[in-house]
């Protein structure tokens, strides 16, 4: 191998490996985060050519200002009930997350993932869609289920893999699925759902249906080939789909620079594919709502996909298996300059006189109670069993749904399993 030195006229190359600006022990440093004034970003006509959105990929659509006022062209002007509903759903998600996180720590299940700080992305986004639009979420959009009134007890049963789990205990906790609620089955394989969402949207268009699709993907996962396929197909066929990149700036221990954030925004990918793109303050429920509605209107008008970067921050660990304090400063989440989505919407409601501290306290207590009683209900149906053979599910169910009809070899294996269990029971 020839080295630089051998060619004095050609300098030696060196590899650049991105590194975050703060590691454990360092002070948190968000000084590089550029935050435009709320209300300062123009709102193009949803029917405008994609190119007219391309200056928006380098800024941030924001509605709620520092004082909680809704300002500028993106203000969705929601009615009081809608505002309170979104606040309530976000609060419920957070309380639910805390509860289930604790349940995992108590050994009631194997795994859990919170969406703390990212509640607005799922909740406000879901409320901006029609209830029958199809969502293709990641494991951090449990807020969609809450916004669509999916039963808490059933969510918990899934987390516990118990007798009430509609997925028969087959999926890892938080990998919910509900066709009835327009919530596509969550995959353990990152990014796969995004081109599937595009295909679903293409099918809706092929059939002359009016439902659109909304896909979600994390910043880190945008590196997968699936994301590229999704953007390519969505653009080529003008699929009625919203591609949400939830940029919470971390992928387990890797900061978003490893996914390309040192170079440009994730919203900028839209420019590369020639599709509409928006970059949104993901902790601003009203901005999330407005951008989602904008993209939905565009899709319904047959003008194709919109890529929306929801700029937010992963306040807690990646999952119950993760301890962020070993790779980033302790209190990073608390210092995130764009604040907390729940606090910000609450402040807005307070400012409008549509809310007060008492009602907030009361709501918190009520929701905590709702979650607590749901948990009781769910636990009546069992929690995850890991060290006995008193399985929550009948072992025979393990062999069902591999195919519509059970083929001979799986039937033989089912019989074998039943025999094993009898042997074990003796």
């Amino acid at each position: 191998m020839s080295k630089g030195p051998e060619r004095p006229n050609r300098p030696a190359l060196s590899l650049h490996v991105p590194e975050p600006n703060a590691r454990p022990g360092d002070a948190v440093d968000f000084s590089d985060i550029v935050i435009p004034q709320a209300g300062s970003v123009r709102r193009p006509d949803p029917h405008a050519p994609a190119a007219e959105t391309h200056d928006l990929v380098a800024t941030l659509v924001r509605v709620l200002d520092e004082d909680g006022a809704a300002v500028g062209p993106w203000d969705p002007k929601l009615d009081p009930d809608s505002l309170r509903r979104i606040l309530r759903d976000m609060l419920l998600v957070r309380i639910y997350d805390d509860r289930m996180y604790r349940a995992q720590r108590q050994g009631k299940t194997s795994f859990y993932m919170k969406s703390t700080g990212e509640e607005a992305v799922a909740v406000a986004g879901a409320h901006a869609l029609a209830s029958d639009d199809m969502t293709f979420p990641t494991y951090r959009q449990q807020g969609i289920l809450v916004a669509r009134d999916y039963p808490l007890v059933t969510m918990m049963c899934q987390v516990y893999s118990n007798r009430g789990d509609p997925l028969a205990g087959r999926q890892l906790p938080i990998m919910y699925s509900s066709k009835a609620h327009g919530f596509f089955t969550i995959s353990g394989n990152l990014a796969t759902q995004v081109p599937q969402a595009v295909g679903w949207a293409m099918a809706s268009a092929i059939k002359g249906d009016s439902r659109i699709a909304a896909a979600y993907i994390g910043d880190g996962s945008t590196a997968e080939g699936d994301f590229h396929a999704a953007c390519t197909f969505a653009g080529v066929y003008r699929a009625p789909v919203i591609l949400n990149v939830v940029n919470n700036q971390w992928a387990i221990s890797s900061f978003s620079g490893i996914a390309g954030a040192e170079l440009t925004t994730f919203a900028a990918r839209a420019v590369g594919y020639g599709i509409a793109g928006l970059r949104v303050d993901g902790n601003d429920a009203l901005a999330v709502y407005a951008a989602t509605r904008w993209a939905a209107d565009r899709a319904r008008a047959n003008l194709g996909p919109t890529l929306i970067e929801m700029f937010t921050y992963r306040v807690e660990g990646h999952s119950t298996s993760d301890d962020p304090s070993v790779y980033r400063p302790q209190n990073a989440g608390a210092e995130w300059p764009l604040g907390d989505p729940i606090q910000r919407l609450k402040q807005h409601l307070l400012r409008l006189g549509l809310w007060d501290e008492e009602r907030h306290k009361a709501l918190e207590t009520e929701l905590a109670e709702t979650v607590r009683s749901a948990q009781k209900e769910a636990e009546k149906l069992g929690t995850l069993v890991t060290s006995t053979i008193d399985f929550p599910q009948d072992v025979r169910t393990m062999f069902e749904d591999v195919y519509a009809e059970m083929p001979w070899h799986i039937r033989e294996q089912q019989a074998q399993m039943v025999a094993e269990l009898e042997a074990k029971r003796k």
């Binding site: 509609p166 596509f184 599937q196 070899h409």
Partner: protein, 337 residues
């Protein structure tokens, strides 16, 4: 009834299904206006419109992923992968997604998805136009894998695959698209016209998945084959003059174990033939199944006549291809002792 080659039969299967069910759509590289590099989808776009038969970007991953989304919506997509050698970019979507969707949702989401792809050698396509990847998919629970060997089966099996509620991999032996190939590459090629299985009904009919066909009854040895190899095996049987029973598996997962077991228990000897590389190929599973279930009937070790454990070399195509000599040697071994 019309005399068809395999391409025409496969085209007819699409046509019949697209006419019967508006949810059937076809997608893939070059399959729209052009009708596919092997012309299997010729005329479909003209007949059913651009939104039911269309070209895709060159992304096998995107083809399968979007087809999964379409199937989850309620369509019955038929996706073409231009060559089986190019199915690997879609491997994750097939094995992690298509294969598991019904299972992980306890039946809430299902995938009536067919993935068609020409496979196998014999056309001097070199390493990347000759592969037989069926064994890889056979290992993945939740997938069915079908491989026809003649026009009549091709149409009936493809219709069954499209009507199936689960994802089906449908591998088409490209070497016999235009005529059966007996493995004697130095002899003139015969067209399908001369072959009884080229008589294909014009309308709808389905051949159930999971059922093998006994191509030739015999007492001396059982030969298990599929795709192109059915014809090569038959020619070898005749050349060797042995009273072999030849079984065309047609579906490899789920495999027709009854037919296999009955035959081997009768003959006490078994030869397995496939074009794919030998190690951990589907022939290994067949060999394991046969010896597990027919052990006390076996008079000689189950033999495998397969492609070698190398890529498919361009200039040595006929040295790689499991032809009459390799199969004949295996048959003779199976008949020894």
């Amino acid at each position: 009834m019309t005399v068809m080659n395999m391409i025409q039969a496969l085209n007819s299967a699409h046509d019949v299904m697209m006419a019967r069910d508006s949810n059937v759509v076809a997608l893939g590289e070059d399959i729209g206006f052009f009708g596919g590099v092997f012309r299997v989808t010729e005329g479909l776009q003209r007949k059913y419109g651009r939104t039911r038969t269309f070209d895709t970007p060159i992304s096998e991953n995107g083809i399968v992923a979007t087809a999964i989304g379409m199937a989850a919506y309620g369509l019955r997509p038929v996706a073409e992968i231009q060559f089986a050698d190019y199915i690997y970019p879609a491997f994750d979507q097939i094995v992690s997604e298509a294969a598991r969707l019904r299972y992980r949702t306890a039946g809430e989401f299902t995938l009536p998805l067919t993935i068609r792809s020409p496979y196998g050698g014999g056309i001097f396509g070199g390493q990347t136009h000759s592969q037989s990847p069926e064994g890889l998919f056979a290992h993945v629970a939740g997938l069915k894998t079908v491989i026809p060997s003649n026009p009549y089966d091709a149409k009936g099996l493809l219709i069954a695959a499209i009507e199936d509620e689960d994802p089906v991999l449908f591998f088409e032996p490209k070497r016999i698209y235009n005529g059966p190939f007996d493995g004697f590459f130095d002899r003139p090629v015969t067209p399908w016209a001369k072959h009884p299985k080229a008589e294909v009904p014009d309308g709808h009919y389905a051949i159930p998945l999971g059922k093998a066909a006994i191509v030739r009854e015999g007492e001396a040895v059982t030969i298990l084959a599929y795709g192109t190899m059915v014809h090569v095996a038959l020619a070898t049987i005749e050349a060797e003059g042995v009273d072999a029973e030849l079984i065309d598996l047609r579906t490899i997962v789920p495999v027709d174990i009854e037919t296999i077991e009955q035959s081997v228990k009768k003959t006490g000897r078994c030869v397995i033939v496939h074009e794919a590389t030998r190690t951990a190929g589907f022939g290994a599973e067949l060999s394991a199944l046969v010896q597990e279930r027919c052990f006390h009937h076996l008079e000689a070790p189950v033999q495998r006549a397969t492609g070698f454990d190398t890529p498919y070399p361009h200039s040595l195509e006929w040295a790689y291809f499991p032809g009459p000599i390799r199969i004949g040697t295996a048959i003779r071994k199976a008949l020894e002792d």
